[in-house]
């Protein structure tokens, strides 16, 4: 399965919170949802903590398709 994007995780998390806040689900079900929510929270936080922004400069390759090369920002140059 494809790894969920940050956006998908956030969206699902918001869904879970509103589901839990409605409070209609039976306890066992809401515990399962809660545990899913906890995992999503951890995943989102981890993604933020470990993210490393990549910056590339594009140029047109021989076939017209983009070719990436690293682009060093000023911070990295220093």
């Amino acid at each position: 399965m494809k790894k969920a994007t940050f956006e998908e995780n956030m969206t699902r998390l918001e869904e879970i919170v509103s589901l839990l806040e409605q409070g209609d689900a039976p306890l066992s079900e809401s515990l399962a949802i809660f545990s899913e929510g906890s995992k999503l929270l951890a995943a989102c936080r981890k993604e933020l903590d470990t993210a490393q922004q990549k910056v590339v400069k594009l140029s047109k390759g021989p076939d017209g398709a983009p070719v990436e090369e690293d682009f060093l920002s000023e911070e990295e140059n220093q």
Partner: protein
């Protein structure tokens, strides 16, 4: 007059010139004048016409006079606005004679508006045109993605703007990848490069959001972002575009067409991505809400459970049995006493009946001295008339019996004396 032209009197015989010769001579004469070879003329445009050749013809006039002007296609392409009749302009160029017509005119090389700048006019004109064509329509504007994964930046790879943007994108949202499409952002051809990069990003679906812009500069420096080709490319982009040109007060056509306008390149970076600090806060809040609602639910169950626990059947399970046991005892007692009452009653009834029976026993009467007389056929004798003398009867006494023979019958009253 003509002698003036030839300056001498060497040949007083009048010479006949052709029209062309005169016009050509006039042209030479005029062209020799330094003042006329490069001058600026202020006036109002009238009779403005553009020919299929690309040359522009018009008349410059003031209150009293008029001057014919031509602007050749080669110079006209540098016009930054579309000249219109009635416009106050300053024309630069040289005065020369057009030999065919024998008329002098201004060969205009540049035309700038007098008063408001010509760029300003061009800007207003393009703005009106694109507005009329719906390029700024709010309903055409696309929302920016909340969490863009790829951000394409169309700007110059040199200059502070690109580094400002990268720094802010990294600080706010390192989850994204930044793709720089390097272009020239000013000078000849820059507009086409910018438009080309926007189209390229769309063709290869390079990003979720596009930032198009440059740092601050003069209106001329920013001019590429006021060109129609850039406006069209932004309008045609399927990828949402954030326009970020110059500083806060600079508004370009790009800003108006783009889905979002940023006041500066740094501001564009802020608009394009969410802030991770805010995201962390949001996650914190979501976590809090999640825990709270779950806690609430658990508390609810907990309360119900405790209410149930407080009930006696659960606090003291033996009580139930004791209750039942006591009830059983009580019932048993009732049963026993009821039984005793029944026995008593019956005993009493029996004693009474026995006593009555005893009282009525004929044996008790016999014991008092009476006897029972019976005929041979066991018929009880109650009257002397029931037997004849000589008949055998039996007498039953309290103890034993006697067989007797009737001797004689007595009177009825005698018998009652007994």
């Amino acid at each position: 007059m003509l002698c003036l032209f030839f300056g001498g009197g060497e040949d007083l015989q009048q010479r006949v010139f052709t029209v062309s010769e005169v016009n050509q001579y006039m042209k030479q004469l005029v062209d020799q004048q330094p003042v006329l070879s490069d001058l600026l003329i202020r006036g109002e445009i009238s009779n403005y016409k553009v020919y299929p050749s690309g040359h522009h013809y018009f008349t410059l006039k003031d209150g009293q006079s008029a001057l014919r002007c031509v602007l050749f296609a080669g110079s006209a392409k540098y016009l930054r606005f579309r000249p219109e009749n009635g416009m106050q302009v300053i024309a630069a160029g040289r005065i020369s004679v057009y030999p065919r017509d024998g008329a002098y005119q201004l060969y205009c090389s540049r035309l700038v508006s007098d008063g408001v700048g010509d760029l300003h006019i061009a800007f207003e004109q393009l703005k009106q045109k694109l507005h009329a064509q719906g390029l700024f329509a709010p309903e055409h504007k696309k929302p920016l993605p909340a969490y863009p994964r790829r951000i394409a930046v169309v700007t110059s790879p040199a200059g502070a703007a690109v580094h400002d943007m990268i720094r802010i994108l990294r600080r706010r949202y390192p989850l994204s990848k930044v793709l720089l499409l390097p272009v020239r952002v000013q000078g000849e051809g820059a507009a086409r490069e910018i438009a080309g990069a926007i189209a390229y990003a769309n063709r290869f679906q390079l990003a979720d959001v596009l930032i198009v812009g440059r740092g601050g500069g003069s209106i001329e420096d920013l001019w590429s972002f006021n060109e129609e080709v850039v406006a069209r490319a932004i309008y045609a982009s399927d990828i949402p575009v954030v326009s970020a040109v110059g500083h806060e007060p600079d508004v370009t056509i790009s800003d108006l067409v783009a889905d979002r306008r940023a006041s500066t390149p740094s501001n564009a970076a802020e608009i394009a991505v969410p802030d991770q600090a805010e995201l962390r806060r949001k996650l914190q809040i979501l976590a809090g809400r999640m825990c709270k609602s779950q806690q609430h639910k658990i508390d609810g169950y907990d309360r119900r459970l405790r209410d149930l626990q407080r009930k006696r059947v659960l606090t003291d399970p033996m009580a139930f049995l004791q209750d039942r046991s006591m009830q059983l005892d009580l019932t048993q007692e009732k049963l026993v006493s009821a039984m005793e009452r029944v026995i008593d009653q019956n005993t009493r009834r029996f004693t009474h009946a026995a006593a009555s029976l005893d009282a009525m026993s004929p044996l008790r009467v016999l014991r008092r001295g009476y006897c029972v007389a019976q005929k041979a056929d066991k018929t009880l004798l109650r009257s002397s008339t029931q037997v004849e003398p000589g008949e055998n009867i039996s007498l039953r006494l309290a103890e034993g019996s006697l067989q007797c023979q009737v001797m004689k019958r007595g009177e009825e009253h005698e018998e009652s004396d007994l």
